[in-house]
Amino acid sequence: MGLIKRIVDRARLKSPWILHFNTGACNACDIEIIAALTPRYDLERFGILLKGTPRHADILVCSGPVTRQTADRVIRIYLQMPEPKFVVAVGSCACSGGVFEGCYNVGEGINSVIPVAAYIPGCPASPKAIIDGIVKLLASLEEKDKR
């Protein structure tokens, strides 16, 4: 049984499908996420595909401070995703509300609404920083599987 579990875990790390949701960001980080899929950075070499529906996705990549209106949308999307699922917060707004903290319609970043696995600071977080963040997340999962 151990062998099958190890194979499934390795497969899970080699094909992380991402779903992108912009919870009220200035869309600089969203552009950088999509730019990471284009030829110069090409996330597909890690097996990463951008998927449209939460049913198909493993990693929810969120950018933007959670505005009041997107708060319950983010929760619904997070609940739609099948286990095992992770959330990556891209950009300073997603990490902590960034420059919009204190505005009346804005929360304090993604972790105030759903559990976040990795934080990628930057305003916007460059495609290299996003790749670095995802690689670090996958590496930490690998260690967890080994234990």
Binding site: T67, R68, Q69, C103, Y104, N105
Partner: protein, 156 residues
Amino acid sequence: MSTEEKIQQELLKRFSFLDGKVRLQRAKRLFADVPLDDFAAVLEYASRELRFPILLTITGLDEGEDLGFIYHLAREDGVTLNLKINVKKDGPSIRTVTAYFPGAEIYERELVDLLGARIEGLREGERYPLPDGWPQGQYPLRKDWNAKALKDKEAE
């Protein structure tokens, strides 16, 4: 005699109550304070005869006990005329300008939501820009309002 001064003279000639209230701040920037009840006539005159076809936007101001609305009009050659009217906070409601500028609907809906302006003749539609769950009677752009007021209102 640049075009801006010509427009200023025509305005003053047409509406005597405006003299002393039309300022030429710099090239292409005309500011005018207009009393509330003649506003419709001035707007009609500006958009038709003076050929100001574009309404850039409507700015809402909270000036102590009354609300200020600035209608920014612009012409093809770049000259902008900014008409300002004042309304008491609990005073009469103002007429919508969608008759002259169909695009003004959004700007007026934003005034209603953020400043609590009362605009009659506005078509029924989705609220904007605040979320649906926003408590009634909270107008974020009012000077006496701040984020904490909302948080403790929700705490009740």
